[in-house]
Amino acid sequence: MTRDIAVVAFAQTDHRRTSDELSEVEMLMPVLHEVLERTGLRTADIGFTCSGSCDYLAGRAFSFTLALDGVGAWPPISESHVEMDGAWALYEAWTKLLTGDADTALVYSYGKSSPGRVRDVLTRQLDPYYLAPLWPDSVSLAALQAQALIDAGEADEPALAAVAARSRADADANPHAQLRGARPQGDYVVRPLRTGDCPPVGDGAAAVILAAGDRARALCERPAWIRGIDHRIEPHGLGVRDLTDAPSARLAAEHAGAYERPVDTAELHAPFSSQEIVLRKALRLGDDVRVNPSGGALAAHPLMAAGLLRIGEAAARIHRGESDRALAHATSGPCLQQNLVAVLEGDPR
């Protein structure tokens, strides 16, 4: 079966270090209203709603059910949730639209990391037998990958710093970003990664609306058509993997059709500077591809929303006519463990 499905609207919060004064639903609601407003749709017009979030971030059990209040989910709507980044919620919504069960979908995700210690929280997603008892934090695992990259001669500290500097310079034009503009690389957090190589910790939310066929054309002047989308995963043992490569990202890109024609833009979910270098190679992105014009995850990294943000930012560039064919990538887990790739296109101008 084929059905053309597009991202027709995108909205995001300003991403901030803390949002103490807001509950999760209070943080999320303005974004839901904004994305609906862009299409003129109301909740009742939406065929399917899918969200991504993780209760462990804020330590608030069943927070996703409370967040549903902001959607207007009563009387019950057709709805689903993934305990993952919203990019995977978008994948589920895309399959739902493919079946023809719905013509429109609302996808949102949010993360409130400020109440907890996110480096510790993320250890709980690791193999509980061999890894989690050691509490290896997310920066440490990324640093092991960065060192492997340096040992392989594929990066050095100046190269990492250049990725960080370019990201924050680009973020200067992104009013939602948390870290905007140049800043020093700082000290080692876990060597070889310095403060500048790591994503900011913060709170934020994102939402997109998907629509199929003529519905998409009616809702959006230039829909960002999803030409392909796929996600793949690495073996869970870190010591089994070649950390300098991301074969699962490459496979997802192949299945999404990314290599059929060149893309002009790529929004990569690379939380650490070193991971952008791994992804550029795995996804075969040349120097002519505009990578992370939004500033990427080094400028704003609300967990569970950061991957959906990549799809949203890529789609928004197509909506604005700044891109014709864009690759959007989302990741989850340590050292680019799981990877999703979507290829988006605008109609010829």
Binding site: S23, E24, R60, R117, P133, L134, W135, P192, L238, G239
Partner: protein
């Protein structure tokens, strides 16, 4: 806006996990200071061993013993160890390929500083003094310059062959308890903060939906029917009506209330939905739907201890049937 409320929140969750045959042999082996790997169909030796081949997904059962010495394949210097990590002083995280293995195991490497660590360096297991059958039975790795298994000195390439092992030990470990504790600073957000501030004055404040006008108590910030923010604060109660109830016959742990007692849904006057609370001051078998109640506060309480009858006539069913 009232001040933002914050409170520490600790979440602890000790998962009890059972082990498969390969994991059981590996962790029991660590207790006995033996490092086991598992051989895959194509002859590679995985350490730490897996139950299933990461490429082909086939069952793996062919155990082998590898050396407690190995080579660092990548590392990262951790200048500020965090709670729960293997060492309390600065250390290197390292992936270590043990001699005889084809894959690497993650652990801490105790070294004086980052200048003493490099990829390719030789290390050996430092065993924990007390071992229980867990990955932490390896206290950490330490630099190793001694002879390898083949009797050669120093960092020469090692060709030691893994030896077959039947995986059998006395008193095998069949499960682990994975302790976890996460610390948070909880803040309840705008609507709930306002509710909690009002409770400090023994007032119950809800919020009205601007579209459907329903009053939510306690407020959560949004109307789930309309999907909009509730903004107008409305004081409700203090009296209310029992809409439905149950009789609790089992004493809860750490709760000093005699059973049986009644736990009820109570629609406070002016509220658009019921909250719940305990009913006291009346025999449990005389509580009924429609009973009119009021809150009873104890000294320094942050919320009503329970609700008791007001003595008013019962409310008519039609007045609360929408709130059931």
């Amino acid at each position: 806006m009232p001040e933002v409320l914050k409170a520490p929140l600790v979440v602890e969750f000790p998962f009890t996990r059972s082990l498969g045959p390969v994991q059981s042999a590996f962790l029991t082996g660590l207790r006995e200071r033996v490092v086991l790997g598992v051989r895959t169909g194509d002859g590679r030796v995985l350490v730490p061993p897996m139950e299933y081949d990461p490429v082909t997904a086939e069952d793996l059962r062919d155990l082998v013993e590898v050396a407690p010495t190995g080579t660092v394949t990548t590392w990262a210097w951790n200048p500020a160890p965090r709670r729960g990590q293997p060492l309390a002083t600065p250390f290197a995280w390292a992936l270590v390929r043990l001699d005889g293995a084809d894959t690497a195991l993650l652990h801490a490497l105790d070294a004086p500083g980052p200048d003493a660590v490099r990829t390719g360096m030789r290390v050996r297991v430092r065993w924990a003094a007390e071992r229980t059958g867990a990955i932490t039975d390896i206290a950490c790795f330490e630099p190793y310059a001694g002879p390898d298994l083949d009797g050669r000195e120093g960092p020469a390439a090692v060709t030691s062959e893994p030896r077959p092992h039947d995986g059998q030990f006395a008193d095998p470990v069949t499960g682990i308890v994975a302790e976890a504790r996460l610390d948070y600073v909880y803040s309840p957000g705008r609507a709930q903060s306002a509710h909690i501030h009002a409770l400090a004055d023994r007032r119950t404040v809800g919020e009205r939906c601007p579209e459907c006008h329903k009053v939510y108590v306690p407020p959560r910030g949004a109307c789930p029917t309309c999907g909009v923010a509730t903004t107008e604060q409305v004081e409700v109660g203090p009296r209310g009506t029992v809409t439905t109830y149950c009789i609790v016959n089992i004493k809860a742990k750490n709760l000093d209330i005699e059973v049986p007692y009644v736990y009820a849904h109570i629609a406070l006057d002016g509220a658009g939905l019921a909250l719940h609370g305990r009913i006291g001051g009346i025999p449990y078998d005389q509580v009924r739907m429609g009973l009119r109640v009021e809150p009873v506060w104890t000294d320094d309480a942050r919320f009503p201890d329970h609700y008791r009858p007001t003595g008013e006539p019962d409310a008519d069913y039609d007045t609360f049937k929408e709130l059931l």
